[in-house]
């Protein structure tokens, strides 16, 4: 059977003596956005970094559309050839560059001409409603605007997968809600599959059709929201169901 999207096969990741992921296997299909849930330190961000090709699996294989992109001890396909973009938890905007230049430099992997890159960057800034901030530096704008700048940089290369590493932590409720709606709309408009790492099931359900729950580096449960909420095994989803019930 062939799969469209990412597939992790018995992936283990160790940092020195610490095991961040222990033999995790799952599929993140192109057809449906996936949320990765779990408490702090359960290995959520590690999964995302492995998918992006930023970390090397200690053991196991990662496939993208049935092709091995990472395997034990090596990254076969480098990050910029995987068709992924990543919005980091700390946003990772380059502080010395203007927001426009951040997006332009983010297009380096496409080898566009300077003019083409700038045109595409401006278009993406408009899409993310921050065209007026093009010449401002990341440090000189609000938290919500910074999130949008990071999103614009991630969307500009038109990736197939948008990986989001807890990008809404530290945002107020109103800004977070608006941003979630915008990401959901942009993803469906541009046919981008989102993989969201979060510890907030509410965020996850707004953006993704299915979820994976990790605990202590192991897969605890996975499935669509309706299945998961019907008989949750993990504490996080049990509590979430109780919360929804009230």
């Amino acid at each position: 059977m062939t799969s469209d999207g990412f597939e992790l096969k018995s992936v283990t990741k160790k940092y020195g003596e610490t095991t961040a992921l222990d033999g995790v296997s799952f599929t993140a299909s192109r057809r449906e956005s996936t949320a990765i849930l779990g408490p702090s330190g359960c290995g959520k961000s590690t999964v995302l970094r492995l998918l992006a090709g930023l970390e090397v699996p200690t053991n196991g294989r990662i496939l993208l559309d049935d092709k091995v992109v990472s395997e034990t001890g090596r990254v076969v396909t480098p990050p910029h050839r995987r068709g992924v973009s990543l919005v980091f938890q700390d946003l990772a905007l380059w502080p010395n560059l203007s927001i426009l230049d951040n997006v332009v430099l983010g297009l380096s992997g496409l080898r566009l001409s300077k003019k083409e890159a700038e045109t595409r960057a401006r278009k993406t800034l408009t899409l993310c409603s921050i065209e007026s901030l093009a010449d401002r530096k990341p440090g000189g704008v609000s938290g919500g605007q910074e999130q949008r700048a990071a999103l614009a940089r991630a969307l500009a290369p038109e990736p197939a997968f948008l990986l989001l590493d807890e990008p809404f932590s530290g945002l107020d409720l109103v800004t977070k809600k608006k941003l979630l709606e915008d990401i959901a709309n942009l993803s469906s408009e541009r046919k981008i599959t989102t993989v969201l790492v979060t510890h907030d099931p509410q965020e996850a359900r707004t953006l993704c059709g299915r979820a994976i729950v990790l605990r202590d580096g192991r897969l605890e449960e996975l499935g669509s929201w309706s299945d998961l909420l019907e008989s949750p095994r993990s504490d996080i989803l049990r509590l979430f169901r109780e919360h929804l019930g009230t």
Partner: protein, 526 residues
């Protein structure tokens, strides 16, 4: 296309690159140490008097006594002063801080001349061991004060506040002193060790020191082998002190050197403590800076026709500055470029690897404490044995720049390590995800972010290199002296007023550069 992730994933290449760079810095000292060790066998005697000369053994003891006293004094004065400057606000705080740090950036012999002149005109005789201790204390206190200040600043605002709530200002000061004690002890020890290699105050204040004996062996006795052996003996003493210190403190310093995202303690206004701190620090500035500076001005002020004497001395001093200015600038700029470039390469190799970072901090501490004459004499030995075609490299200003650059490379490296610590690994990962090549990433993001720190680093190295008389004295080509060396060489024969004016001019230039560095730092902060 190399990935920027290379910078975040240190491997064998980074260990290799770091080792090569550190070896390059230590390389000029190697031939001298080698020949000194081989000559030990040839002499066939274990008597240290035969190996280095009996006078040197006495001088080494003198130097060790001075170093010990200077280290103790600088710890006693620098620790509380740094803590108070970091924690309390009082009128003139920044100016007093700058004035206390200032002695670090001018040659120590300037302070010795100031004290010598002051004692000759108005006070009791200042000479010998006590004189050297007094002259060396100004720059030594500056070094320990900087360490104590930086360590206190590494405390978070909430740590300071919780100490204040728990037991008031006494607890705050006690906790801060405890926190800053080890870095300050290290800085004070370094300050003490650095006095071992400085010939200036000893020569001016009539004390035979190890460093001045090495200079005498080389310049007056023309005995290169003896100078080499003496230098090796001094290096051995330095290593005995610094290696255990470096091993003990490097892990802590490597951790503290990292920039933090937490709130720094804001200077607190507490009338009682602030007044006491202002009084104590003001007194320190008066004794360690203003009194020797007064000593420098006295010869001119006391001249029969003050204004005319001043004018004559100033004209003559300006001529000297014009004569030596270009070479001074060349040496300073060359040293800055070499040390900052090497330090940047080293920091990019080390990346965020904690073990490599500790190793580099320890190596920097040891390298910086080695006698400057070691590298200079090593280069001279290489030049003596090298073919004639190497002369334009080994017997030219390039050699001086190279020796000074390598000498102050550890200072630039520590500053660059701190600057690198302020960058985020996720910037590099973002660059990798977006297909930005390593070169483009370094050029477009890393270098601009590090630039202010590199500029400050370059300014600091150029000031320290200018103040280093020993290296220039040993290596400068004929007729290409630096300003401090010119002062050092004319001070025995020239008029007192001329020497004093030259010293004051030098101090004024150093102040100008200090203000420039402060401006850059402020811009960086905003």
């Amino acid at each position: 296309m190399p990935s920027p992730l290379l910078l975040e994933r240190p491997g064998r290449w980074s260990q290799g690159a770091a080792a090569v760079l550190l070896l390059l810095v230590a390389l000029p000292a190697a031939p001298l140490l080698w020949s000194a060790l081989s000559s030990l066998g040839e002499l066939g005697s274990s008597d240290s008097g035969v190996f280095v000369g009996r006078a040197f053994a006495v001088a080494l003891l003198n130097s060790a006594v001075v170093a010990l006293l200077v280290a103790a004094l600088s710890l006693l004065l620098g620790l509380p002063a740094g803590v108070c400057l970091a924690l309390y606000n009082f009128p003139g705080r920044r100016v007093l801080f700058a004035l206390l740090v200032f002695p670090l950036l001018v040659p120590s012999f300037l302070w010795a001349i100031g004290w010598s002149s002051l004692s000759a005109h108005v006070g009791p005789a200042i000479s010998g061991v006590s004189g050297c201790v007094i002259a060396f204390t100004s720059p030594a206190v500056a070094l320990s004060l900087l360490a104590s200040y930086a360590a206190t600043q590494a405390l978070t605002a909430s740590q300071v506040d919780s100490a204040r709530i728990a037991g008031g200002e006494r607890t705050v000061i006690a906790q801060a002193c405890r926190h800053a004690a080890i870095p300050t002890l290290l800085a004070a020890s370094l300050a003490g060790v650095l006095t071992l290699q400085d010939p200036g105050p000893g020569q001016i204040l009539g004390l035979k020191t190890a460093a001045s004996e090495i200079l005498t062996s080389f310049s007056a006795l023309f005995d290169f082998a003896l100078a080499g052996r003496q230098c090796a003996a001094l290096t051995l003493l330095v290593l005995v002190i610094t290696v255990p210190l470096a091993c003990f403190s490097a892990p802590r310093i490597a951790h503290q050197i990292l920039a933090r995202q937490t709130g720094k303690p804001r200077p607190h206004t507490h009338r009682g403590v602030a007044s006491l701190a202002a009084l104590g620090i003001g007194l320190m500035v008066l004794i360690s800076v203003f009194l020797p500076l007064l000593g420098l001005t006295l010869p001119t002020l006391r001249a029969p026709e003050f204004l005319r004497a001043w004018q004559r001395a100033l004209e003559r001093a300006l001529e000297e500055v014009a004569r030596t200015g270009t070479d001074t600038l060349v040496y300073a700029a060359g040293a800055a470029v070499i040390s900052v470039t090497l330090s940047l390469l080293l920091v990019l190799s080390v990346g965020r690897d904690p073990r490599l970072r500790i190793a580099v901090v320890a190596a920097c501490f040891i390298l910086f404490s080695l006698p400057s004459a070691l590298s200079a004499l090593g280069i001279l030995q290489i030049a003596a044995e090298a073919p004639a075609w190497a002369d334009p490299l080994l017997r030219s200003p390039i050699a001086v720049c190279g020796a000074l650059g390598l000498r102050f490379f550890p200072v630039a490296t520590l500053l660059s390590l701190r600057a690198w610590g302020s960058t985020s690994s996720s910037w590099t990962m973002a660059a990798a995800v977006h297909g930005v090549s390593a070169g483009k990433y370094v050029w477009k993001v890393i270098l601009p972010v590090l630039l202010p720190s590199l500029v400050v680093s370059a300014l600091l190295v150029s000031l320290l290199a200018t103040a280093d008389v020993g290296t220039v004295l040993l290596l400068h080509p004929p007729g290409r002296s630096s300003l401090p060396l010119a002062i050092f060489t004319v001070m025995a024969n020239a008029r007192e007023s001329l020497v004093a004016t030259l010293c004051l001019l030098y101090a004024a230039i150093a102040v100008g550069l200090l203000i420039a560095a402060e401006t850059v730092l402020r811009r960086k902060a905003t």
